[in-house]
Amino acid sequence: MDAENKQYMPWICDKCKKELILRKVKARYLEGNFEVELMKCPVCSMVFIEEDLAMGKMLEVEKGLEDK
């Protein structure tokens, strides 16, 4: 997800009323630690994860790590 391919993002943080920004975010599961670029609120840091990502790539990585 680099800046050029940045998709149209209508979602805002409801609490802070801020537009989301693309930032490197830490993710971890079992023995795995990674950094991924995801949309987050610049104020409260709440990270936005859309359904396709959760049920697609994330699930795949989770399963992969579970079989390690």
Binding site: C13, V25, R28, L30, M55, K63, G64, D67
Partner: protein, 766 residues
């Protein structure tokens, strides 16, 4: 996990043991590979299979006395396979001249072969290939011996000549017109490293070892009809070959006898039974030999004997197309992986642990036991994928929480029925999934038991621990068992009355000290609560529960109840001890839905009648596959079996709710108690959940409770995203290592759910 024991068990599996034709062939031709190629019309490849094992294949293939034929399993179903005719067809349609091969350096030593018949030719050819300088002595003017007696229509002289040229082409030194007598032989023994004698006749009795063909400890080896005492062509070839192996070992000074158990004829451990076989007579040949088409059809009659009994009866083994033998080897590899991917995990978690394989197996090998041990080992090593059994284990935790779990003695209000209610002779234990699917029947059954059983009947709601057992979680299992045992002792060691087959098997395995009886036996003995006896209600096929496959009392009771209810029974091919799993066992329903679906549809395909089951999950799963299915309690307490037969399984959330409501109802109606907490955990949210979202919740194992907690939290804390274009909110909440996301709209006082999903990965918000 004892991996040596595992490999020993794997070696006992007869899946890849040779068929009896191959074990009865002295040179062990791979008959299955041969006929398989024939059947495909690949005559060249079929010939290559012959040539690999049969020396001078064009000669021996034409005159072989085929001892394999008398061992053919097809013999009882129309007639043995015409193997010799098939071999002839392979020679006609598939022969190609041998490719020139580089001959090995002849530096291993010198060997003499006396006698140029079948066995001598074979010994000379093999010794030459092994790297010996061979001299072949023949008393007559040509090689071949009694092969020439067979020359005729089937075996043309030109072919014999052509085939025997192999000897000269290999560079084997041949001394024709050279008669070797006793004295000559002694000289050869002095001159050569080893000597082979294959003359058919010899004027002194030689003591030949039956397996090594060696004479005493000497360098002399004897084969052919001299050793075999018969005139079998193929035995002669085999003895020449085996003697050559002995001579090679003798010269190299290594053990002549080690690891030679399976040379020549041997008894194969393979057992093969073809069920539902159609008899078929051998294909007749129109002319002197099979045409291509005739040969293809004859090859098609071969059973290609291989023990696949367990595989054919099991949707798991057949789905993964794996024999127990290679399954256990894969487990062995998986257990030994230190760094890397455990590719077998999904397979290991797709076995229903139903135990049918053991029933089917000639050797009594049980994958159930192997899988149980493997899963326990995976858990112990921290290698069990968390997501495989997480939901089922949380469900078990729920059943054993105060929201469902309860123990009560028979209430005093029932004293008018039986005075001595202080005692609890029986404890009704309906399990967790029956109350989840059919709470109303549990209530009815308890009332029935109280009125029919003397000595006081208490009730115990909870989960026996089967999910922990299936998941390999011995820690949770032991804890649960201790808890049940404590209750049992505390209450005066009552007999448990079971309504779930899964519980029965757990009690048999972990709580042998507790006596139990199935509620079905009680119904069969004491009679049904309603006068249901209307005959001719129809025919049902019983699907026995796999967890009680060996419990004949339960099998009989179910059939009696069906008869008392006016049904007649059709027995399935796989029933009672041989029953199949519905697809729920071993938590496969949670770990691999596709595998579970394969079990469901396999069983449904097996029968035309409506099914009769006595396990809640069996009913729910078969109905989910579109099969009309009645639970035995539908027969006892149900009204309108028409609609009940296709009544859908409650959702995962409703399964929780049903258990909670049953507890509340029992407490209120039977014990006159008010539950002391908010068992239902109502949030007061007014949710609209469309059907597509309900399906997502089922597929993704998300409960209504979790959804409500996410929304509740987002509304209270304001932690949510908002899309001004479609006015959707997206909220997340992490609960017990899972982050749940809910997308919703607020419509006045209602909340419309648009989607729900989750992930296990943790995102650090900083």
């Amino acid at each position: 996990m004892d991996l040596d024991k595992l490999l020993e068990t794997s070696d006992r599996c007869i899946y890849d043991e040779p068929p009896s034709c191959t074990s009865n062939c002295p040179v062990h031709m791979d008959v299955i590979a041969f006929v398989t190629e024939m059947e495909k019309g690949e005559f060249g490849k079929a010939y290559a299979v012959m040539e690999k094992r049969i020396p001078f294949a064009r000669i021996i293939g034409s005159i072989c006395d085929h001892p394999c034929k008398k061992a053919c399993v097809r013999a009882d179903s129309g007639g043995a396979i015409e193997i010799s005719e098939l071999e002839k067809a392979a020679l006609i349609f598939g022969y190609s001249p041998p490719k020139r091969t580089m001959s090995a350096a002849k530096n291993k030593g010198r060997a003499a072969v006396v006698g140029g018949g079948i066995s001598g030719l074979t010994a000379a050819f093999d010794l030459d290939k092994k790297g010996y300088r061979v001299t072949l002595y023949e008393k007559s003017g040509r090689l071949g011996g009694r092969i020439w007696d067979c020359a005729g229509e089937d075996l043309k002289k030109e072919i014999i000549e052509e085939e025997l040229q192999i000897i000269a082409k290999q560079g084997i030194n041949t001394e024709l017109n050279t008669y070797v007598d006793k004295k000559g032989l002694e000289e050869l023994i002095k001159e050569y490293d080893a000597v082979y004698l294959g003359t058919g006749i010899w004027d002194e009795e030689l003591k030949v070892h039956p397996d090594t063909f060696q004479v005493g400890e000497t360098p002399l080896f004897v084969g052919g009809s001299l050793a075999n005492k018969n005139d079998s062509v193929i035995f002669s070839a085999s003895s020449g070959r085996r003697a050559a192996i002995s001579m090679d070992r003798y010269i190299k000074k290594i053990s002549i006898t080690a690891s030679r158990e399976r040379e020549g004829f041997f008894e194969t451990p393979l057992k093969y039974v073809e069920e539902d076989v159609q008899p078929a007579a051998p294909v007749k040949k129109e002319l002197a030999a099979y045409s291509e088409d005739e040969a293809i059809r004859e090859a098609g009659r071969c059973f290609k004997c291989r023990c696949r009994k367990c595989i054919e009866s099991c949707s798991h083994l057949s789905g993964f197309d794996i024999s127990p033998k290679s399954y256990m080897r894969q487990i062995n590899q998986s257990e030994r992986i230190i760094l890397g991917t455990h590719y077998a995990n999904k397979m290991i978690n797709s076995c229903t642990m139903c135990g049918l394989c053991k029933v089917e197996c000639f050797k009594g090998i049980s994958m159930k036991g192997v899988i149980q041990e493997t899963r326990e080992s995976m858990v112990a090593r921290g290698k069990m994928p968390v997501s495989a059994h997480d939901f089922a284990l949380r469900d078990m935790q729920f059943s054993n929480s105060m929201r469902f779990w309860m123990v009560r003695k028979q209430p005093e209000s029932f004293q008018e029925l039986y005075k001595d209610t202080e005692k609890t002779k029986y404890l009704f234990y309906p399990g967790c999934q029956l109350p989840a699917s059919y709470p109303e029947y549990v209530m009815e059954a308890y009332k029935y038991l109280v009125s029919n059983m003397k000595g006081g009947v208490g009730i115990f709601l909870g989960c026996c621990g089967a999910p922990a057992d299936w998941a390999g979680r011995q820690d949770l299992m032991k804890e649960n068992i201790e808890k049940i045992k404590g209750i049992w002792e505390n209450i005066g060691k009552p007999t448990f009355i079971m309504a779930c087959s899964g519980c029965c098997s757990v009690f048999e395995k972990y709580l042998p000290e507790i006596d139990f009886v199935s509620v079905w036996e009680i119904f069969a003995q004491k009679g049904l609560p309603r006068n249901n006896k209307i005959s001719d209600k129809g025919v049902l096929s019983v699907h026995d529960a796999c967890t009680t496959r060996y419990n004949g009392k339960i099998h009989d009771s179910i059939r009696e109840i069906a008869a008392l209810s006016g049904y007649s029974i059709h027995e399935l091919k796989y029933s009672k001890e041989r029953t199949k799993c519905c697809g729920y066992g071993g938590l496969v329903y949670f770990a691999n839905r596709e595998q579970s679906a394969a079990f469901i549809s396999d069983r449904i395909r097996e029968c035309d009648n409506d099914l009769l089951v006595y396990c809640a999950m069996c009913k729910d799963l078969f109905v989910s596959g579109g099969k009309r299915t009645l639970h035995i309690l539908d027969l006892i307490f149900g009204n309108d079996t028409e609609s009940i037969a296709l009544r859908k399984m409650p959702t995962l959330s409703d399964r929780h709710k049903n258990r909670v409501l049953l507890k509340i109802r029992l407490l209120r109606e039977i014990w006159g108690e008010e539950p002391d907490m908010n068992l239902e955990k109502q949030t007061g949210l007014n949710l609209i959940i469309p059907e597509n979202v309900r399906l997502l919740m089922e597929d993704r194992y998300i409960l209504l409770e979790d959804m409500e907690r996410v929304i509740d939290n987002s509304q209270k804390s304001g932690e949510r995203f908002f899309n001004p274009e479609d006015r959707n909110f997206l909220a997340r909440l992490r609960l017990d290592n899972i982050t749940y996301w809910v997308r919703y709209e607020e419509k006045d006082d209602k909340i419309l759910i648009n989607s729900i999903y989750s992930h296990r990965m943790e995102i650090v918000e900083e």
